[in-house]
């Protein structure tokens, strides 16, 4: 008997050491499992396994490069001014978690992947019983799931440092799964309205933000001389901000350029980051552009394994959940409404962020925030799209500006609080600068009672939505045209 047990334990130990704690292979096997469940041919399943694993290994290359490239800035600011610099961007945030999680909590990034799985299963279960939960959307955006699982995992470890591995994964899986389901579900109605029944919801990082600003924008409709963005002509050069690589390079050059100039060549040479006789101008240029390089590598890796992950996830959720709406990337909404909204949202969001960053420096904040492309572009663009659709031009300028201010302030406070800022990054998206800090505080100071409070509060939201319109609530997701007919008939 003991021999059998020993043998089984041996298998388990081998599995844990080589797969469970190795995120690259873990992702590969998750994808493999998904494909087998979907009854895909063997050669496709193997290809999926390889692509997912290779994708993750590419990500680690980009990740290592970013950390190295960041060192002169992080070390320099710490040594000379005792400041933490952090980029608010989901990829930098994910990187910060990867860099700090072993050192801070003695865990590996693999736990994050397991958490992702649990949360996804939780989301599916919640929608499976939509009769009771009133939840209509499944969160399928893989790259966002990974970023959020990483940050959420850190937050929970910070709140409950002494919990065992299984308990912590289960509690966090429950909370994250609820957030995914409830957040996506919040956006079903406004998205159907914007897209005239395209049949999807948002599964991203500002779902609560979009909902709140969309509702606020409705209040601005009453203004008589309120135009929509469709009637405005924007200058042509703004189109360069549509290119992620160009925008990232410009942002990084601006922020890191200033920081490197402040540190000065004398310090950089003394600390061994720069070589004697090297041109300072080109050192700055190269350092800033290398951020864009490593970010591109990292994103290539993410893209590679996420396409496999999404393929298997979507297959699974479509077979299990007919009638549910898929939650997808916010960029899917950019084709609706005004194309100007995306640019206007980006610009006013940037304005809000830059002013706030300036104020942080003025008031001697211990954390310097560096603007990242993704929160600037995706959060604020999508807020502008919805605000313009429901409240016109003014709403599309004001709300992204407010969002930019909140992104910086909220991120600086929470990242310093949970100790992520010293690793150079935080996710920085709207919900993670508002909703999640509140949830973190509740869990940190109220313990299990706080966890219960968070889950109950989240699950109450769809119930309230349902009560506001019981007749049309499920109809709007299932058959939009029928819904419109019914609602106009009701008005008459």
């Amino acid at each position: 008997m003991t021999q059998v047990l020993d043998f089984l334990m041996g298998i388990w130990d081998y599995f844990a050491a080589n797969i469970l704690t190795q995120p690259a292979f873990l992702i590969g096997f998750i994808v493999l499992l998904g494909y087998v469940l979907l009854k895909k041919p063997l050669y496709e399943s193997i290809a999926g396994f390889l692509k997912a694993t290779v994708g993750y290994l590419i990500l680690t290359v980009g990740s290592g490069g970013l950390v190295n490239n960041f060192r002169p800035i992080l070390v320099g600011l710490k040594e000379r001014f005792n400041l933490d610099a952090m980029v608010i961007d989901p990829y930098f945030g994910q990187n910060a978690v990867t860099a700090g999680i072993e050192e801070t909590f003695g865990r590996t990034f693999s736990d994050t992947m397991i958490l992702l799985l649990i949360a996804f299963v939780m989301n599916i279960l919640l929608v499976r019983f939509k009769k009771y939960t009133k939840l209509r959307a499944v969160f399928t955006t893989g790259n966002v799931q990974i970023q959020q699982a990483a940050t959420a995992f850190w937050i929970l470890l910070f709140c409950f440092p002494n919990l065992g591995q299984i308990q912590i994964l289960l509690i966090m899986g429950l909370i994250l799964g609820c957030y995914w389901a409830v957040g996506s579900n919040l956006t079903v109605d406004i998205t159907q309205d914007l897209t005239e029944g395209a049949g999807f919801a948002i599964a991203h990082q500002q779902m609560f933000g979009v909902y709140i600003f969309a509702r606020l924008a409705e209040k601005m409709k009453k203004d008589k001389n309120n135009r929509k963005l469709e009637d405005v002509q924007l200058p042509g050069f703004l189109s360069i901000f549509n290119e992620n690589m160009v925008a990232t390079s410009i942002l990084m050059l601006f922020f890191f350029g200033i920081i490197l100039v402040v540190l000065g060549p004398a310090y950089l040479i003394e600390a061994g980051f720069m070589v004697e006789g090297q041109s300072f101008l080109f050192y700055i240029l190269q350092t800033a552009l290398y951020f864009a390089v490593y970010l591109a590598i990292l994103q290539l890796g993410v893209r590679t394994f996420v396409s496999e992950l999404t393929e298997s996830f979507q297959g699974i959720s479509n077979t299990l959940l007919p009638g549910a709406v898929p939650g997808i990337d916010v960029a899917a909404t950019f084709g609706f409404g005004s194309p100007n909204a995306v640019t206007i949202g980006f610009l006013f969001g940037a304005l809000g962020q830059f002013i706030t960053i300036g104020l942080l420096i003025l008031f001697k904040s211990p954390v310097i925030v560096i603007a990242g492309f993704i929160p600037l572009f995706f959060d604020n663009a999508v807020i502008a799209v919805y605000a313009n659709n429901r409240g016109g031009f003014k709403a599309a300028c004001i709300f992204p500006f407010i969002s930019g201010v909140i992104q910086v302030l909220g991120s600086a406070l929470i990242a310093a609080f949970i100790g992520l800022s010293q690793y150079g990054g935080y996710i920085g998206m709207f919900d993670w600068a508002t909703v999640w800090p509140v949830m973190t505080l509740l869990m940190k100071y109220l313990g299990y009672f706080g966890v219960a409070l968070v889950v109950i509060a989240l699950l109450a939201i769809p119930q309230l939505q349902y009560r506001a319109n019981p007749e049309g609530y499920f109809l709007i997701a299932e058959d939009y045209d029928e819904y419109v007919k019914k609602m106009t008939a009701k008005k008459v």
Binding site: N244, I328, F334
Partner: protein, 99 residues
């Protein structure tokens, strides 16, 4: 036919769009030899290696240069809708060129 699908960041939306495009083109009887999804930055630089580019409506003007070179560029509103993509493809000369 070589197909490129391009969106702002090259991860979420273009992946959904790629699936819809595959479905639509298969139904119309096109033979896809190569399909790739990517970010606008990459798409602008590599469009020349493809026969047709699909992108969200609001990024149509990013591919003006590709259009000048004679590559078919198709703007899509609802990335989830194979039906819409199918209609848009039928408005182009793709069928005459590649079938």
């Amino acid at each position: 036919m070589r197909v490129l699908v391009s969106c702002a960041n090259g991860s979420g939306t273009s992946l959904m769009m790629k699936k819809s495009v595959e479905k639509a083109l298969k139904e119309l009887g096109f033979n896809i030899t190569n399909i790739h999804h990517c970010a606008i930055s990459e798409g602008k630089s590599t469009a020349g290696q493809y026969d047709v580019v699909f992108c969200p409506m609001n990024f149509l003007n990013m591919f003006d240069d590709a259009k000048k070179k004679g590559i078919t560029v198709v703007g899509v509103r609802n990335v989830m809708s194979a039906k819409e993509i199918s209609e848009r493809v039928q408005e182009t000369e793709l069928a005459a060129k590649f079938k």
